[in-house]
Amino acid sequence: MSLIEQVTDKPWERKGVIGGLSPEGTFKTQAERVALIFFLIIASVVFSLFMVSYYIRMELPDWEPLSEPAQLWFNTGLLVTSSILFQWARNIVVRNGKSNLYTSFFGAGIFAILFIAAQLVSWSYLQAGGFYLSSNPANAFYYLLTGLHALHLVGGLWFWSKSAIRLVSGGEPKDIRLSIELCTIYWHFLLLVWIVVFAVLSNT
């Protein structure tokens, strides 16, 4: 039954158990995954609102575009690598495999950490170049958006480290399968956000 059919159903007409063990309207997937999807929507709303504010603020006369450091291309590479490694790790656990799991899983986390470190380095370059947070709204948005993105990644790393501890302390791949699957989705999402943020920053 499609969603439209479900909410136009006349509930007083149909009696009895509908939908077997799980009622209509339930997503046939784990609750955690549904929660993650909702969280991603919320995070998208947060980033979108910042973007909208960015475009509105940009129209005002005191805006001086910031030329982003070229280093960001390198940083992007780090994040892409991290995402790819996570996808690899996910594919391994889904097949219930074990070989290369350590390489891919830990590699993903390490590259994410490297990305955050590289973002901090690019901040310090900007600071050294005199582009302070308060000197222009374009700078402020740069720090704000990259910082917020990094903060989301730190949140992801927290879940990553929980799985890492479990894995190191002898956990089976199937124990952390859901966690890795969800982390992978989250990583791809953050990569997408980063690409959008980067594109917006460098085109304005």
């Binding site: 006349k10 063990l21 799980s22 504010s53 709204p137």
Partner: protein, 596 residues
Amino acid sequence: MAYVPLADQDQEMEMHHPHTWVEKYVFSQDHKVIGVQYGGLAVFTGIIGLALSLLFRLQLGFPESVDFVDPNFYYQAVTMHGMIMVVYFLTALFLGGFGNYMIPLMLGARDMVFPFLNMMSVWTFLISVVILMASFFVSGGPTGAGWTLYPPQTTMAGTPGHDAGIILMLVSLAVFVVAFTMGGLNYVVTILQYRCRGMTLMRMPLTVWGVFVATVLGLFAFPALLVACIMMMFDTLLGTSFFMPAVIEAGSPLDYEGGSPILFQHLFWFFGHPEVYIVALPAFGLVSDVLSVHARKNIFGYRMMVWAIIAIGGLSFIVWAHHMYVSGMNPYFGFFFATTTLIIAVPTALKVYNWIFTLWEGDIRLNSPMYFAIGFIFTFIHGGLTGLFLGNVVIDLPLSDTYFVVAHFHLVMGVSPILVLFAAIYHWFPKISGRMFNEKLAKVHFWLTFLGAYSVFLPLHYLGFLGVPRRYYALGNTDFIPLSAQDLNSTVTVAALIVAASQILFFVNIIGSLKWGKKADPNPWGAASLEWQTPDTPPVHGNWGDRLPTVYRWAYDYSVPGAAEDYIPQTVPENEVLAASNDNFETNKNPSPAAI
């Protein structure tokens, strides 16, 4: 990983049964305890909000003789009253309190999907309340910028609490958003994934629909508040100019340039308008259920009620700038927002019609919850209709920022939801506590609250028509305001004091009944929805004993022709309806194989 339906998970589900008193009542992961904690904390802040309102109402009513309210404190009290009532009281109470308590019970689940996250939510909420309250004790006191916190005023020297107070407010709001998000994810996922067998979307009681749509609104709207808070905090602490234009503070220019105060207003109201419905929709849901049960009749036009909730929720995201008609934004926006705003009146009106039609040809039991519910219809009609004035952009020109606005939103999102709140508390009290409350006292409480609140807010509309501005510490010498307006103000204050004092009856009733109330039936009102069918009253941890319930029908089978009882619980299969004619229904019937 394969998907496992809830019913199959149940046998192996690990329940975190509490072992110690602390685990049971303090760091509890039981949605019912958390609901009560959320509700209690919200009521506590609500009492503070109410007390603040009395203080500034005294000043407004008797400016000559009240000298303990100075202008500074007046603005602080007005601001904190507004913010506390809207966010920390109503939002937390309806979603955190009722949402938590009702969702798993009404859906036939054992608990929320993520009980630990749920516990974190309530404790984070506590932190946000503590931060908020801390602002009363810092130098300069709490912020007095108005609950809308409009920059640049908020952080400038002419505003009370412009240093520490506003920072604490922003931090507290940000923490609240985090708490709400943790809770909100829980409610949404629980409603989607943890419904028991047979509980289709359209079999959910309207309470759940209201909470569900309100939570989705909250999840999408609160980020706007968070974004606005973060950017304002940057402006204040780090010297950025997101919202701050070049301004002069007491004669000397501040180090800001070019920011847009109107951008803040857009962000704030992008949150602020859905916020109205975050409060209203759960109230709509709860009141629908109360009306239906006590009218012994199904809620009229259930589908329309669901669609209206969804439509109102959706529309609420495209009406926000009706709060900004006179803000100096591009005036051409007025056409769009006036139109969308008045469109929202249609689904809202339909809800009102359907509530009244639920009473039509009903068998109305005038129990005290029903009194409050019917009182709600009255105040909501009044408050809803005055919204049509303010939504219509030209009428907003003379009326905005006057007492008309104050009267309108207090009726529609203050008095009306609070009447629902009382209806709901009285209605579910027997289930929650296992005891009956004192019906007589509840009715006295109703009369004082209902008549008192109406006599507070009806006159205020007329002050607004006259043009008396809101947020004025004193009216001073003004030619167009007759002296009688001050008399009216004094009357209003007296009425407000009576309303406030009568709430003591409520607390006496609730607390007294907890101890001395007579034991309640498991289902004293004869309600059909699932929460009344629990094996224990009050429900214990895990809610449903050995087996999860199975649902065979919608939640509104009242006075069904042919059935002996005037209600059929959702757990009763069709073939047992006639068989059970002479006995009361047993609660939590095991499904008979034939019915599956």
